[in-house]
């Protein structure tokens, strides 16, 4: 019983189980096709076809649906709408602007809402870059639009099209839906406007990958100096509840030197999105000097919003990121939390009665994770620009147990791993990044950049810092058993200097005006100051001066406070600080020798 209506496949609901429905009545539904479900016109996606049974997940609550209500195919896979007007917006998991939804259904999200992803009536000034007769290929820039004060939108030929320009409008103001050029390819003509659609589950094509070589500078010391991530790289922040995953990602979103941030609130708290919306318009991007909101895209599918749309939100976000990457921007994607996405997969898989692997997660969890992180990269785009997508995913291990499936599998596909530690969070040591179990595999690739742009000694010093911290953790094992009083003075010195490193360097207060963001140059100077004091103090200790006496000079506490005392724009003060500290120690040495 195949009914056709404008060529759209039609079937009917023959089963409902939570967010998953079974459709009967047509064999023409395609895998991954978007469908319109029931009289309420809910949106859904075909996720399995088993003989007669076509199975779809529904992106909205299925309460009130009845058997035999119609299901209509759209002939399209789940896609995003790409064009000017994305920046600064807040979308749900399937790219419906939450502001527009609010206009329709008020403070609470209703159902069956049909809204445009981007404003179709607003006119944008486009500066046309092509002329009649030009041969264009996919990705070619047709014109540019000032999308926000910091982002110039490159309007590109969709990747799948090419042809000769037969008609082109003059530069001027148009809505995104208006045809701006017509190209002809093999006798077929294509009308191209400022918008294009792209299926979210397919990576957007590019010419080639470029090896990563630049760090994403976040202004957070424990990240930039200790465990950096490359632009185009991947990183994960696993940690139990309340250890600081969201705070870290908010800090990255605020201060990192990406051109564009895509922040995906995937199954997390509504208030966390609200706080971004309240703060970002007021905060100024240190790079462009413009409000942060003008480089930010938010995807919010909070924990109480439908679970199938949560599953989609990750793909929606990364596709938007790739689109801006194609224009030559460096985009950083924050996904908070990938565990909630994995749980959405698990829930849907359960309703499909698939064979589970570990802890009920489907066996394809790891391939989905790897496909997702694979979409990060530093590339030459189809229009020959270089851009990157950096992906940072939060992981919320159940029971804070890092051996659970999502953490374990994520670890295989990311190269920066920032393990957040419950104990550190209890002590209010933030960011609670554990310096012994975290790592960055990008050090080798990034060393030349740090040596060239910050200081020749950067990585050498970093290694020294890490070595000191490692010695400290060994010593702490002993201290736990016998106390620190009877340790020899060289070892006491290690404990003092590493305490200064922990307090003064690793700890960074996100709420402190000066400390919330620290330029990489200052990070280097702080590190080098600590190491110089350490070297000098070692000499004193060797001469027999007790650490307790050195401590009385206040050098260590000065080190722990320099992050506050030296302002980010007064880095020359480090000279003076260093001289003071060293001469304090020299004086002490003189007294002892004299």
């Amino acid at each position: 019983m195949v009914e056709t209506m404008n060529n759209f496949t039609t079937g009917y609901i023959s089963g409902i189980n939570g967010s998953v429905i079974t459709i009967h009545g047509s064999k023409d539904f395609a895998m991954r096709e978007m469908v319109i479900v029931g009289n309420l016109k809910l949106s859904g996606e075909v996720i399995a076809i088993r003989g007669e049974d076509v199975i779809a997940q529904v992106y909205e609550v299925t309460t009130g649906l009845k058997l035999h209500e119609p299901v209509i195919g759209t002939g399209q896979p789940l896609s995003v709408t790409l064009g000017p007007g994305i920046i600064g917006n807040v979308f749900d998991g399937i790219q419906r602007p939450l502001e527009s939804i609010m206009k329709l259904t008020g403070a609470f999200i209703g159902r069956g809402i049909d809204v445009d992803a981007i404003n179709m009536t607003k006119k944008w000034n486009i500066d046309i870059k092509v002329k009649k007769g030009d041969m264009l290929t996919g990705g070619f820039v047709i014109g540019t639009v000032k999308e926000s004060s910091s982002i110039t939108h490159q309007v590109m030929v969709p990747p799948t099209l090419k042809g000769k320009v037969t008609k082109v409008v003059p530069s001027g103001a148009y809505t995104v839906g208006e045809t701006i050029i017509i190209i002809e390819d093999d006798k077929k003509t294509h009308e191209i406007s400022m918008v294009q659609k792209w299926p979210v589950r397919d990576p957007r094509p590019f010419i080639n990958r470029i090896p990563v070589s630049k760090p994403l500078i976040t202004g957070q010391r424990v990240f930039d100096t200790m465990f950096p991530i490359a632009k185009g790289g991947t990183g994960a922040i696993p940690g139990g509840f309340g250890t600081g995953k969201t705070m870290t990602q908010h800090q990255f979103a605020k201060w990192s030197d990406a051109d564009i941030i895509v922040y995906i609130g995937c199954g997390e708290r509504g208030n966390e999105i609200t706080s971004v919306l309240e703060d970002f318009p007021k905060l100024i991007d240190p790079k462009s000097k413009r409000p942060l909101m003008e480089r930010t895209i938010l995807i919010a599918n909070t924990s109480n919003m439908p679970v199938a749309a949560r599953e989609a939100s990750i793909y929606t976000g990364i596709t938007l990121a790739e689109y801006y990457r194609d224009m030559g921007y460096h985009v950083a994607v924050m996904a908070d939390s990938t565990s909630r996405w994995a749980e959405a997969l698990r829930e849907i898989s359960g309703r499909l009665e698939e064979m589970p692997a570990e802890e009920g997660f489907p066996a394809y969890l790891q391939s989905r994770l790897s496909e997702f992180y694979e979409r990060a990269g530093y590339v030459t785009s189809l229009c020959n620009k270089t851009g990157s997508v950096t992906v940072v995913g939060a992981v919320s291990p159940q029971g804070s147990d890092f051996s659970e499936p999502v953490t374990m599998n994520t670890k295989r596909f990311v190269r920066s791993f920032w393990a957040l530690d419950k104990q550190l969070a209890y002590e209010r040591h933030y960011p609670a990044v554990n310096w012994t179990s975290s790592y960055s595999e990008y050090i080798d690739e990034l060393t030349p950049w740090y040596e060239k742009n910050v200081n020749k000694d950067f990585m050498v010093n970093r290694t020294k810092l890490i070595a000191l911290l490692q010695e400290e953790s060994k010593l702490m094992e002993i201290v736990k058993l016998i106390g620190s009083d009877i340790l020899p003075d060289e070892q006491k010195l290690i404990l003092e200097i590493t305490k200064a490193i922990r307090l003064g360097f690793l700890q960074q207060n996100a709420f402190h005006e000066e400390d919330t963001f620290v330029p990489i140059q200052k990070q280097y100077l702080m590190m080098s100051c600590i190491l110089k004091v350490n070297d000098k103090a070692k000499i004193l200790v060797r001469k027999g001066i007790p650490v307790s006496v050195i401590k009385k000079t206040g050098v260590f506490s000065t080190l722990s406070k320099m992050k506050y005392t030296i302002k980010n724009d007064r880095l020359e003060s480090f000279n003076e600080l260093e001289n003071n500290l060293i001469s304090n120690l020299d004086e002490l040495l003189l007294q002892y020798e004299g």
């Binding site: 023959s14 089963g15 409902i16 079974t22 609550v61 299925t62 309460t63 009130g64 649906l65 009845k66 058997l67 807040v90 939450l98 502001e99 939804i101 609010m102 259904t105 008020g106 403070a107 609470f108 999200i109 209703g110 509840f241 609130g265 199954g267 708290r269 509504g270 208030n271 999105i273 609200t274 706080s275 919010a300 909070t302 924990s303 109480n304 679970v307 749980e343 829930e347 359960g350 589970p356 802890e359 009920g360 919320s396 159940q398 029971g399 804070s400 147990d401 209890y426 002590e427 209010r428 040591h429 736990k480 058993l481 016998i482 106390g483 009083d485 709420f511 506490s557 722990s560 406070k561």
Partner: protein, 464 residues
Amino acid sequence: MKLEYIGLENIDGPLVVLSGVKGAKNEEIVEITVAGKKKLGKIIELREDACVVQVFEGTRDLSLTNTRTKLTGNPMMMPLSEEILGRILNGRGKPIDGLGDIYAKDKRDINGMPINPVARKYPRDYIQTGISSIDGLTTLIRGQKLPIFSGNGLPHNKLAAQIVKQAKIAGENFAVVFVAMGVKYDVAEYFKRSFTESGVLEKVVMLLNLANDPVVERIITPRCGLTIAEYLAFTLKMHVLVIMTDMTSYAEALREVSSSKNEIPSRKGFPGYLYSDLASLYERAGMLKDQEGSITQIPILTMPNDDITHPVPDLTAYITEGQIVLGRELFQKGVYPPITILPSLSRLMKDGIGEGFTREDHPDVANQLFASFARVQEIRALAAVIGEDELSEIDQLYIRFGKLFEKYFIAQSEDEERDMEQTLTLGWTLLGFLPVAELDRMSPKLIEKYYKAGSNERLLYKGI
């Protein structure tokens, strides 16, 4: 006349299966009549050959032939009007106080709808509870969801009742919704008495699903409660405090239904969607832009075996905006309220304290107390190995600080109310037991203004 379906196909735990049902809606409520008594159920799955119903009042007495089932055409609806204040309802939202039905100005689906994140207002106003460890270290913010993690036998009820009594909401347009799930009669009675004593009873709505009430009914009790709370907060513009206890019993009810459905469990037999399900309750807290009214939630849960990694506390804390953790060790030392501060956290406190909100030194004092007390715990562990006498001088100071901190800051009596000023001053007096060089989380300016070295116990005593 609505169609009635005679008999059932299958009965399994709380689930029954009907066949031949026409026009049923997903999640609509059905009425099952057995021997003249009515039970309610919800359709949870629809197939061509079957309609699966979860029966709230249990399936006892049902047989394949003795039932008549009627579709109601609607999901579970809650009748609402301001008359609901002061009423006592059962776990399904039906009055049990003998005062008759609730006059319905409005009727709403108890499942509610998600708040649009762009419609939220970020909560920033703190609620003074008069309890130092909460106000000082895990400040409660109006519109926050801040659960109490407790264990069997710990005084969580006392604490919740004290918060209701002391929270500075009186005189305002406030209400309390009390949701009991699987708790003993005594507990419900205790709260009722305490609401009466503090003179707020006519501002309270109580929903009671007690330990001997049907287990599956627990799944709807908090939803009825939160629907009432939303009505009071966003239609009547009141500041509503919702207390939900015990969330562990709630989750167990969910587990029971899930296992009868033969769903694949995740941890400890709980369904994989426990997180989303809990979120559908907890996320109903908050405030809305350009609107008066708020919903503050204090869910209470008992951690099985005091295990904070158990799925219920774990997933709760992943959703709520912090947690107040009660500890057995403090309780056994006789400290009330036995709030274990290190794992306790209020995430919204950062935006609701400090200059312009509480006092400019509040963030630093809290930070320093946390850090210093973390140090106390390390030293206590060391002392357990080498003996207290062998500790260094400075470590001994910490031990003393720790003792006094528990005795004067954490401990306070059930009817003792401290204002913010007092709590912060107490914090400074305690920090005076440590040498100034140890205050490494504190800004020098504040040290200059507030720090006095060499405290003594008399000062503390006077401070409370």
